[in-house]
Amino acid sequence: MTRKKLDAGIMTSLVLLVAILVFFTIRTKGNMISVFNLTTIMDQALIVIIAGLGSIFVVSLGGADLSVGTTLGISTVVGAALADATGNEVVLFPVAITVALTIGFSNGFLVAKLKVPSFMVTLAHLIGMRGVMLYVQSVSSGFYRAQSLLLTLKNDAFKIPILIILIIVMHFILSHTKFGTYCKAIGENESVALNVGVPVAKVKIIAFMLSSFMASVAGFFMMAKVGGTNNTMGINLEIDVLMGIFLGGVLVTGGYSASVVKLLIGSFTISVIKNGMVLAKWSAIEITEVTQGVLLILILFVMILLKQRSGATARPDTLPKDPTV
């Protein structure tokens, strides 16, 4: 990690986080930083972090996965329906994961091989899958009640270690494996990656599958927390994940600016904001949404400004374009 990159991205996000924490602590007269509240925040951030651990790969290659929320919903709903039908809870896990991986593959294939922009593909899945999910729920026996195996995920003794393991594993994959480096290289400049010999299509497909996979894992935790399935599962998750990633200082174009550390800072920040707003009695949906919308635009604007300023030091080396001088 270069000092320079640490400065721009992580510094900004840390400053933002601290500023927001301070703001809300004052506003809520200290309630913000009570132990109980901090654990609540961690709890809420958990889902976003887990989903984000997958989506960060897609963002790192310069794309976006807007379907994570719906993938979470539909994978758990289908898994639950089958678990219900067979009466066996264990069935839920492999089924949900398979559904998620299929969606991920379809996303990746459409983007990598058929060259449809990622936001459009994942948006189509968002809308489409939501419809399918509601359909499945309308024809199945209603909502599922979480059984004992799932409920273990509610137990802190299991939750925290699993989360930490996931964070560490994903961090290493993104920062210390060939695959992760290839993702970031594609985000930096896809033509360069192609010219070097990176199997771009394959990497993209795997990244999308990873994103969907983590969405289903987040789904398990959500089911445990909520006690089963309902029909608003995962709604808005994609926004929270994107905000978590961008607030942490990752650029829209991804590249080497993508890191799990930034995701963590950003996810924490968005959870603090949401939590703080509830504590400060600003929990109405309109306030949360407008804050999210404005913040999203602001943080991206600032990051672009910062990037432009640091890029201004690059020596202009304009070569004549093809064909001849």
């Binding site: 480096t181 360069v192 590249g255 070569l319």
Partner: protein
């Protein structure tokens, strides 16, 4: 006798550089009314740059231009149009999604609007009138430009230039796109221009054609004007001699005068075809051989480089590694089989500009950087990058600096250097010394000599003939996607010989 009239265009000491590349140096130029002037010179001689400055497409660094005695400093092609200079240059083009007719009057459609609606009938009628007036063929005006062929698109640009009734017409490599009939029409048009007392500036690779239709020819070499001669008095040999004939300085390049290579073949190409750009090329590359490829802009040599590395999905034919019995079908396979490719567009396709030097260096070699548990080891990455940085004497702050902040020469060192670290069998270079200062150039040539001695097979694709002659064992001169001729290092291995085939 009437006093000599003022030249319509007068240029003094015009200069333009792109980084370390001096594209035009101290150009003095005069164009009279009713004169048809051709610009000739090989790739990199500066003729397109000169025309682009006159056309207002790029801004000059120094020097002055005078049009009819008044200072002329166009900020954009619009200024050129306003001063009645019609241009057909390669940097512009057509808007594919709009119709041909609209393209002719793009940006000036307001002249045909009534109540906000563009009167297409009136516009198309005027275009046909222009075509008729200048004796040009009709083209379908209502179809979107992207559905027309290259020739018709050039016609659109020509009509666009003629629509302003220009006093100077600038044509940059338009003739090669035209069929025989249309070429004839263009020649007639040029003659009409002359009769009307207007002037034409034209670039073409076809020396015989350009000598035939012009009054005078200006020869450029290395960004400077060599001479301006009368077309009817100069011979082809004179022209070619003026275009080339530099002294090869010192041991910049290789000093041996005979080709050398090992017997074993490292790369074998059979009937390689990429759409219409590369047509059924076949050749063998030996170990320890530098094989040069050169040609004009439409020769397909750059596409060849990409195809050799497995980057072109549309490629047909075979790229084989005989020693390993492998056929290259993708860039991933090429990478795995120790082939390296250094593309021509350094900033756009070779380097990740906003990423660190270390990341750029290590990207092709990640397999060798693994440490514990098969994860990439930061230590190995840093060591490799530092080693390369020292070995190539890259001038930078440290390996964590952004590549974008380096000079062209240092960037090229990274572009090349990251491959050299690997144990290569084949190296494909496309314009390796483009935009690079003399010091780094000689460094790169030295590097190539060392690699050749080690038994590497090198493919050298270049627009610089001197470079090819200086470094290659063999040269393939390519025309329209096919190998026109093979020249072997030794006597007769000269710029003149190559130009002879190329033009």
């Amino acid at each position: 006798m009437t006093a000599a009239r003022e030249p319509v265009l007068h240029i003094e000491k015009l200069c333009k550089s792109f980084g370390p590349t001096k594209a035009n140096t101290d150009i003095d130029f005069e164009l009279d009314r009713g004169e048809i002037r051709g610009l000739v010179g090989e790739n990199g001689s500066g003729k397109s740059t000169l025309l682009s400055q006159i056309a207002g497409v790029i801004a000059s660094d120094r020097g002055t231009m005078y049009l009819n005695g008044e200072i002329y400093a166009p900020q954009s092609p619009l200024d050129a149009y306003a001063r009645k200079i019609g241009i057909v240059v390669q940097e512009l083009g057509v808007i594919g999604t709009l119709s041909a007719g609209v393209n002719v009057f793009i940006g000036r459609t307001d002249a045909f609007t009534r109540a906000g609606i563009v009167d297409k009938k009136k516009m198309n009628a005027e275009i046909r009138e222009i075509a008729r007036k200048w004796g040009l063929a009709d083209i379908p005006l209502n179809k979107p430009a992207k559905s027309l062929n290259v020739e018709s698109r050039k016609q659109i640009e020509l009509l666009r230039a003629l629509a302003i009734d220009p006093q100077i017409l600038i044509l940059d490599e338009i003739t090669q796109a035209l069929s025989y009939d249309n070429r004839k029409r263009l020649h007639d048009l040029i003659l009409t221009f002359k009769e009307m007392g207007r002037s034409v500036l034209i670039i073409s690779h076809d020396l015989e054609e350009i000598a035939e239709i012009t009054d005078t020819l200006t020869v450029l070499r290395d960004g400077r004007v060599v001479d301006t001669v009368r077309s009817d008095k100069v011979t082809m040999n004179d022209l070619k001699r003026m275009m080339v004939g530099r002294e090869i300085e010192g041991d910049y390049y290789r000093t041996d005068a005979a080709p050398s290579r090992e017997d074993r073949i490292v790369l074998s190409v059979r009937d390689l075809t990429v759409r219409k750009e590369v047509r059924s090329m076949s050749f063998d590359l030996h170990a320890g051989e530098i094989l040069g490829f050169c040609g004009l802009s439409d020769s397909g040599i750059h596409m060849l480089g990409k195809a050799l590395y497995g980057l072109e999905e549309d490629a047909r034919g075979a790229v084989l590694l005989p020693e390993k019995g492998v056929r290259i079908k993708s860039s991933k396979m090429a990478l795995e089989n120790n082939i390296a490719y250094v593309p021509k567009e350094r900033d756009g396709e070779g380097l990740m500009i906003n990423a660190e030097i270390r990341d750029n260096f290590c990207l092709p070699s990640l397999d060798g950087m693994k440490g514990k548990f098969g994860l990439l080891s930061a230590k190995k990455l840093n060591d490799a990058a530092n080693k390369a940085k020292d070995a190539f004497a890259v001038r930078c702050r440290d390996i964590f600096q952004e590549v974008g902040g380096l000079s062209g020469g240092n960037k090229q060192k990274i572009n090349l250097g990251r491959w050299i670290a690997k144990d290569l069998s084949v190296l494909i270079l496309d314009c390796p010394t483009r935009g690079v200062d003399v010091g780094v150039k000689s460094y790169i040539y030295r590097l190539m000599r060392d690699l050749k001695a080690k038994g590497l097979g090198i493919i050298l694709i270049s627009d610089e003939l001197l470079e090819i002659i200086g470094m290659a064992d063999r040269v393939f001169v390519v025309k329209y996607g096919e190998i026109a001729q093979e020249l072997v290092r030794g006597t007769g291995f000269s710029e003149e010989a190559i130009i002879e085939v190329m033009l």
